[in-house]
Symmetry: C2
Subunit: 589 residues, 2 copies
């Protein structure tokens, strides 16, 4: 069994950690019913386990291929996509108005975690469609919505994001693709885009490209960028598909991992496109897609981490090596304390990242649907605060946990035949795309901490304090110990936050040099807070989840939380030692 959806853990995280129960009886989510959560997760879990997971290693080996007729997906992927489409999974949390089921976004995210875990290369295809749907919902005209949304939400068509060009990666404003008005309301789009995920394929009948380009009279830089809808095949007025558009894939990248996900070089040669959103406001539209994608990429980290943990746990039960107390003959390596420590590290971090990502999802739902304006604003600020942490902390975690998974496998982990090896390769892209983790850190430290005078982080720190009080009030000595660790870690987060806010004004360079370390600390403390909350909540649960959550919280408290106070100096002083000697280190003045 290569991947089994962890339905119990996911349901627990949704309900007890992220606060899915807030939607119960909510007028905006009249379709939501807490009783539906597990059945939905079960059903998605079957697709993940039975259809997607079996194609993970075969897809890695075969890859997708560029032919004269465009890109052919790896064997079995078209059928798997059909099963995904027919299951209605794309529309789970899309608006009913456009054919969706109107459930909370966070449920859709939990389902995506499973698909990423079962087969990350596959999961990327719907993930990009999500981004296109979000952009259309937020910025499309009624006509554009009517033309594209129903087919994207039914998954009959897929979507892509076309941002990067060879000279314009993290700096999107440097892009050169042109959009010339055709005079009929459409534009002729010309240019080359790179790293376009699922940019071409044969698993759906049309592909809706969202493309950043420049109008003829556009200002330089990011203020002169506009977003265009460029379908692979033109959509006729009656909704039927017309001629091929002037866009094609001219190359596939050879990558370290996610081989079954075609990473395309796309050529736009006077392709017909339609402006979405205002002229020169493409960056704002792009960020709508990006924010959706960033959280989804965080869930790739969680999914791959979960897969790595499961694979390593299975292997540790099967592989016999050495002796252990109470076992006759060679013992499964699970009996060795060091192996168990690796597995516990993996599981604790996966659960912490899951909680952070789901909490971000709930905040995104509440930002749209909470009853009062004030609640929506508060939720929006929390979503903004948590998004870079969800993306960066979870994907760094994904790489670390996948690497531990390799280590548990020993020599077998270095063999291409092993899923663990594939996960190590696949996981590595997630800290890079949709905004590198360094950019997430800058976003967190430079932008999110200053929004509304840092209200979201202040609220988060207060919430963590409350969790520590709750833990102490259990009067369970183990939980009191966890509470002590959480309080000290929270004080470290608070200190680092104040330093960061102050230094960002006084010496931005020094502040930025600590941004990544600050994000790591924030993720550790917020993750530890959720695990602590989990251990408290699990006290009223039956079965193994109580012991499991207690152990994960205790382990995380003694490792990541206990280490938090010692991480402050790295934020506040690490960069200064380096910046003072830029000449000697880098030949820079």
């Amino acid at each position: 069994m290569s991947y089994t959806a962890p339905v119990t853990d996911i349901a627990f995280a949704l309900t007890h950690l992220a606060g899915l129960h807030k939607f119960e009886g909510h007028p905006e989510f009249e379709n939501y019913d807490a009783e539906l959560v597990e059945p939905i997760l079960d059903e998605a879990g079957k697709l993940a386990r039975d259809i997607l997971a079996p194609l993970n290693q075969t897809g890695d080996k075969a890859g997708s291929k560029l032919t004269e007729d465009g890109v052919k997906a790896a064997p079995g992927f078209a059928e798997a996509y059909a099963a995904f489409r027919d299951g209605g999974w794309m529309g789970l949390s899309a608006p009913e108005e456009w054919g969706g089921q109107g459930l909370p976004k966070v449920l859709g995210l939990a389902v995506m975690e499973m698909f990423h875990g079962a087969n990350m290369a596959f999961g990327l295809c719907p993930m990009l469609s999500f981004g296109a749907i979000e952009a259309l919902l937020a910025h499309g005209t009624e006509d554009q919505k009517a033309t594209y949304l129903p087919k994207l939400i039914s998954a009959e068509w897929t979507g892509t994001m076309n941002l990067t060009e060879p000279q314009a990666g993290s700096d999107v404003g440097a892009l050169k693709t042109k959009a010339i008005p055709n005079g009929d309301g459409s534009y002729a789009i010309s240019g080359q885009k790179i790293y376009i995920t699922w940019g071409d394929h044969d698993v759906a009948e049309n592909i809706i490209h969202l493309v950043l380009a420049r109008l003829p009279d556009a200002p330089e830089g990011s203020r002169g960028v506009s977003l265009f809808i460029v379908p692979k095949r033109i959509v006729n007025a009656d909704g039927s598909l017309g001629a091929d558009n002037g866009v094609k894939c001219i190359g596939l990248e050879e990558k370290v991992g996610i081989h079954a996900s075609p990473t395309c070089v796309m050529e736009y040669d006077g392709a017909k496109g339609w402006l979405i959103g205002a002229e020169n406001k493409g960056l704002a539209c792009m960020f709508t897609m990006m924010n959706s994608a960033r959280l989804n990429v965080g869930l790739e980290g969680v999914g791959v981490g979960e897969a790595a943990w499961q694979t390593a746990f299975n292997y540790a039960q099967e592989r016999k090596q050495g002796k252990a107390e109470g076992v006759s003959g060679a013992a499964p390596i699970l009996h060795h304390a060091d192996v168990r420590r690796m597995l516990t590290t993996m599981r604790a971090k996966v659960m912490a990242a899951r909680a952070i990502c789901y909490a971000t999802g709930v905040a995104a739902d509440m930002a749209e649907h909470a009853e009062t304006e004030e609640d929506r604003e508060t939720a929006k600020l929390r979503e903004e605060l948590l998004t870079p942490i969800a993306k960066a902390w979870s994907t760094d975690m994904g790489v670390e946990v996948a690497s531990l998974g390799v280590q548990v496998h020993g020599g077998m982990g270095f063999m291409n035949e092993t899923l663990a090896a594939q996960l190590y390769r696949d996981a590595r892209i997630a800290p890079i795309y949709e905004g590198t983790n360094g950019i997430q850190a800058i976003d967190l430290a430079g932008r999110k901490l200053s929004m509304a005078d840092g209200a979201a982080m202040t609220a988060m720190i207060a919430e963590i304090e409350q969790t520590a009080r709750d833990a102490r009030e259990t009067n369970d000595p183990n939980m009191v110990q966890v509470a002590d660790r959480l309080v000290a870690a929270n004080a470290a987060l608070s200190e680092a936050t104040e330093w960061m806010k102050r230094t960002m004004k006084e010496d931005r360079e020094v502040a930025l040099s600590g941004a990544t370390a600050y994000l790591a600390l924030a993720g550790d403390v917020i993750g530890g807070h959720f695990l602590t909350k989990g251990a408290i909540e699990a006290r009223s649960e039956s079965g193994q989840i109580r012991g499991r959550m207690t152990a994960l919280a205790g382990f995380f408290a003694e490792t990541a939380l206990a280490a938090a106070p010692g991480a402050v100096a790295g934020i506040t002083h690490g960069g200064q030692a380096m910046l003072a000697e830029s000449e000697a280190l880098f030949g820079l003045n």
Copy 2:
């Protein structure tokens, strides 16, 4: 330029950190002359840069191939090996008696770091020969030495280590390969060995396999294992090569990295072998090879880390993205504080690991050649203590630094065409082979700390205290700050050490659950100690090395050393939270 030997840093680490100057005027090293160090390093650096580095990516792509005539190395590797052989590099630190140059081992290790950095797949070939040479020197008869050593030391032949079988990896005692006496002093060796590095190839005319096998009447487990010399081609009495022996490669593993290094499945079918060392004492002989190999694997971590740092630094100077103060137009990403932080992290860790490995090498030299028995014993204990740290800390560092190198490259880092991507794949094996890093941690915590009542670690901690005093006595406020960090970190190491020694006796399982975290802490503190020493020593140097060492020590002090006190709880308490809930976490009682 894909790899340039960092001769200045290597020479500095050898002389000022590891203590190579101890050999000056030493009667055992009469060939050693401090003036020779840089010329030797320069010459090795040329081979690394001009011959080995250019084959790194081509070798990765082509790999080695199994043909009907045995394994063919990747294109160009035979020529590169010839250049290595003709340069006399194999014999640099081998005894003059057998054709070597009799220089300190640590010099040979420094040279190997370069070869690993330029081309790790290549470096593995001589690395295995080193192990065979060490085993023959320590355990071979005069006749065996005369037959095999000159050709191994001249690099005309290569060596291998044959330990692992499918059911016997970390638990070597579970092996089944048989050795039946032929009645003429030789044995018939039959069985299958896996993961045999450079087990077959066409770059040298003979291969000397050292093979663990069981005699017919051998006891079970590791006490019934003997070591045999099994040449690929039988060596005639006159030294000429005779018939092919009954050993062949029957398969090559498809690995995540080091593609140009053939990882062979070897079949021994009644192959002629000769016992080396005593019957059933093969494990002791194996550990001779292993200890040599472990330190060498640590240097793979250093070499790959150095290559990753250089590659990332080069890319960061070329790749332009975004704006920076004082730069018109798009600025090289080196100007972004976050990128510089990644690069500084890489460089500091590489230098710390290099110092640990070289110090281990000097200890190994002194253990053999120091003048008094007492000095030799003290040095031996230090070698024993540092070897698992050198292996595990440096290889974990190699993976982390290679991963950071990918991150600096952004999307390009995930493309197979990029050296950074290859380094990420190559680096991953080093924490696994020659004893997994978990086994290194058990060796450190369970065995090395108890040797001579922990004298080596006690001495190390005292030495670190002295370094902190020296730093403080500079009266440079930056160095005083480093000293404070080092003192606190050293106190943490001391506390963790006492706990580990005590707990290993009282509750071995709890102790072992903290072993990996303990090794990580020890590496951080000892590494920080060497960087601090470097900053002190560099104060009397001219040029950029003074500023560089000051910055690296300062950065490491505020990050790794400042974090050390917070890591103690993870050692002393992390495992307990986990072990208390083994049932809920793992289904174990």
